[in-house]
Symmetry: C2
Subunit: 312 residues, 2 copies
């Protein structure tokens, strides 16, 4: 069973590293870190124990990669345009593609490129960063929720592909759970992401600061409520106590910078399209206007343009 890791950063480097350590045949696509990883391998610094992978199958061109049975897509969604030039080289007819990305519409991006593929979505509850070439720092958490994608958004149930991938992840020590309803799981994750990712960028604040101030906490809770309403308009019910549970968990976390804040600080483009625009459009198509999220999205678009313009 061959694994292909598309994007060897905080997410792909970490999960791919765990699979590789477990002995799975693993092929890593890299970009800027290619030379370094060819020479030095990968180093995973983890709260669960550091480990080095000295000799990894590294590629800087998808044409050179073998076709893989399971392909993990772990690019930033802002790079999804490149999937068209990558996936046809790495996937085969019976490959399973696992999309380890945030937001909505990410599996559909893969579907456009691979009309017949089996596609899973993977929601990563992971706190990790790439802190240098081939150097991943895993700070906390790490579980993955897997669900199979259906083009019409309905629940796929527990499928053979889900079984196969979740067994491999478990073997590699990745805490994994499976969901029958990927759409619901994606909206549930958006409840947190749409509240904390954008607001942490706009207000330049960690989760701790946002939880500790009455006004920002109200704002976060308001956005969460709006996302739950958006989810319901689209036919997914996150459940009654979902928001308070999320806030409870966040209140107990250490001060944390969401991925979008880290992207912003590093001058990388923001995943506003998948994390905000796609759900806002889906809800609107279902008759619900996410007005507060729209404010955050426009602020992010402005800040993103100014930030990335200044970076070059």
């Amino acid at each position: 069973m061959k694994f292909g890791i598309i994007g060897t950063g905080a997410v792909g480097g970490y999960y791919g590293g765990l699979l590789c350590r477990q002995g799975f045949e693993t092929h890593f696509l890299l970009h800027s870190d290619y030379e370094h990883v060819m020479k030095n391998g990968l180093f995973i610094e983890s709260k669960d124990g550091d480990f080095a992978l000295g000799n990894v199958n590294a590629y800087n061109s998808p044409e050179d990669m073998p076709r893989c049975d399971i392909v993990l897509v772990a690019l930033k969604t802002t790079a999804n345009d490149s999937l068209a030039s990558i996936l046809p080289h790495v996937a085969k007819d019976d490959s399973i593609v696992v999309v380890l990305q945030n937001g909505l519409g990410v599996e559909a991006d893969v579907r456009k490129v691979l009309p017949g593929a089996t596609i899973l979505g993977g929601l990563c509850f992971l706190c990790s960063n790439k802190i240098g070439p081939g150097h991943i720092r895993h700070l906390d958490f790490g579980s993955v929720r897997l669900g199979e994608f259906r083009d019409d958004g309905t629940a796929a149930g527990i499928t053979p592909a889900l079984d196969k991938v979740s067994r491999a992840f478990s073997q590699a020590g990745i805490p994994v759970d499976v969901t029958e309803n990927l759409g619901l799981a994606r909206w549930q994750k958006l409840v947190w992401n749409m509240a904390f990712n954008g607001v942490s960028v706009v207000l330049s604040a960690t989760t701790r600061e946002l939880m500790d101030d009455a006004s920002s906490l109200s704002l976060v809770r308001d956005i969460m409520r709006e996302v739950v309403e958006g989810a319901r308009a689209c036919g997914y019910d996150p459940g009654d106590n979902f928001i308070e549970t999320m806030l409870d968990v966040t209140g107990k976390m250490v001060a944390y910078s969401p991925s979008m804040k880290l992207d912003f600080e590093a001058g990388r483009p923001l995943e506003t399209d998948k994390i905000y625009r796609a759900p806002i459009m889906a809800a609107r198509a279902a008759g619900f206007n996410m007005l507060k999220s729209e404010v955050i999205a426009r602020q992010l678009e402005f800040l993103d343009r100014r930030n990335t313009r200044n970076a070059f």
Copy 2:
């Protein structure tokens, strides 16, 4: 005819300075600049010509001031709690109090202190800063729209008090126009202020930057539309082309930092209560929820607390 100037900053120093220069008997209440102005007077640097007032009636305590016929309230609204200890010393039964402040509910703050007073609202279309002790820099514009306040928000018409104050202002060279409907005029000014003041703080951007980016321009326009809806819910109609006219004017202005942005950069508290909270509450009481403005208000409250905490 005696004028009392409560707050000798960018607004009070400028308009009070023009009245004083014209020869009106003018009494200035100062705080931190008192010693300096006692010794050196006021200096008004203006695009229309600089002038110095060497010998001004300056006070650092309202108890020492004479009772005045016309009292200009030109404090930041964040200092309105102090009106209770100031106005009873400066006003008399037949005084006219002119409230030269932004936002909603500012005349009501004066009414609480002076139940029988004649109260005018004055909307300043003025770009000026206090750049040092007793030193005002007038950059652009300068007109004042005056209207008489009615406790129930209805149009007061053109009153004798309005006539009196507008004549004096005109004599002093202040471009002035009068409105029969102060409530409408305040909401019209809010269309601009609620869009540009808060967003310029949150995104740390001048009016020019906000006009030049498609996303921030959409955000500004959306908030303007929401304010117009809020005004209509409260019984005031800003008019059909009001928003596009405002945007047109703003697009032709030089890059400009709204007063709230200047306050923020100087570590001063923000006028969020009068410019956002009061209109949001008024609209809500009339059955309309200003959801987008609510997002901006909460962001401002968070930023304000962090900003002023850091300042001490």
